[in-house]
Amino acid sequence: MTNPATLPMRVLWNAFFWTYERATWQYDLMVIAILAFVWLTPPAWLGDPMASGNGPIGWILKMLNADF
């Protein structure tokens, strides 16, 4: 049985040392993570030269700040 303590390290290693084919659930998961980064990261955080604003994360933070 594999040591559960090593699981996060194995997940990280498998994400880094990528050997999965396209159209597998691991591939889907990676695509979701990439799309989340691209669409949710506020352009201002990255200093995007062409886009401005805070994006979806910024809107959520703004809404949360308005509520409290």
Partner: protein
């Protein structure tokens, strides 16, 4: 079925029609490859002018040519070693053209930081192809690493259509570094196991 598999199947239907049309007109696959790079240069010009949506639309068109050339070659019985070589070389020109468009745009905007991000991403994209080509002269196959050409192209389109090119460049850059590292590690391991088997 995975959702990326479903997307692939959905897009395959219209592409099938285009492939059939090209086969019926007996267009040589090498011509399709060359037209693809010319259209990609037009997309790069639009990116350089900051017209991302227009650039994205042209990129879609360019990559139709890119995608169908191999399939048309099979259907026309025109698969050749030179065709494979020509396709790989032309693909590199297409990759570089898109990056040059962005580098021009960012330098025009005075954004040296993003000129560097785009340049470093471009360097690792080229190294991604080079490491595989060189590795496969030593070992049978070296198809590891996530960031290959189809992923790059789709990301470029997403960046262009949703105006998130900066995030896309970071993703392409970082994952291309990983892909190059994966290929070096994989080749090292494969060569070492072959050498140990001989000894």
């Amino acid at each position: 079925m995975t959702f990326t598999g479903l997307i692939g199947r959905t897009f395959l239907f219209p592409l099938r029609l285009i492939i059939n049309a090209c086969v019926a007109m007996r267009i040589h696959p090498n011509v399709l490859t060359f037209v693809g790079v010319l259209v990609n240069v037009a997309a790069a010009v639009e990116l350089a002018r900051g017209h991302f949506i227009r650039g994205g639309v042209i990129m879609v068109l360019a990559n139709i040519f890119d995608f169908i050339d191999g399939k048309v070659a099979i259907e026309l019985n025109a698969v050749s070693a030179f065709g494979g070589f020509w396709d790989s070389v032309i693909d590199r020109f297409s990759d570089i053209a898109l990056f040059l468009g962005l580098i021009y745009l960012y330098s025009h905007l005075g954004r040296t930081d993003y000129v560097m991000v785009a340049s470093i991403a471009m360097m690792f994209v080229i190294m991604t192809s080079y490491t595989r080509a060189r590795a496969e002269s030593l070992i049978k196959k070296c198809k590891v690493g996530f960031m290959e050409r189809p992923e790059r192209i789709v990301l470029f389109m997403i960046g262009a259509f949703t105006n998130r090119m900066a995030a896309v460049l970071w993703v392409i850059g970082v994952l291309s570094v990983f892909t190059v590292a994966d290929r070096i590690i994989y080749t090292y391991r494969e060569l070492r196991s072959t050498e140990q088997a001989v000894v």
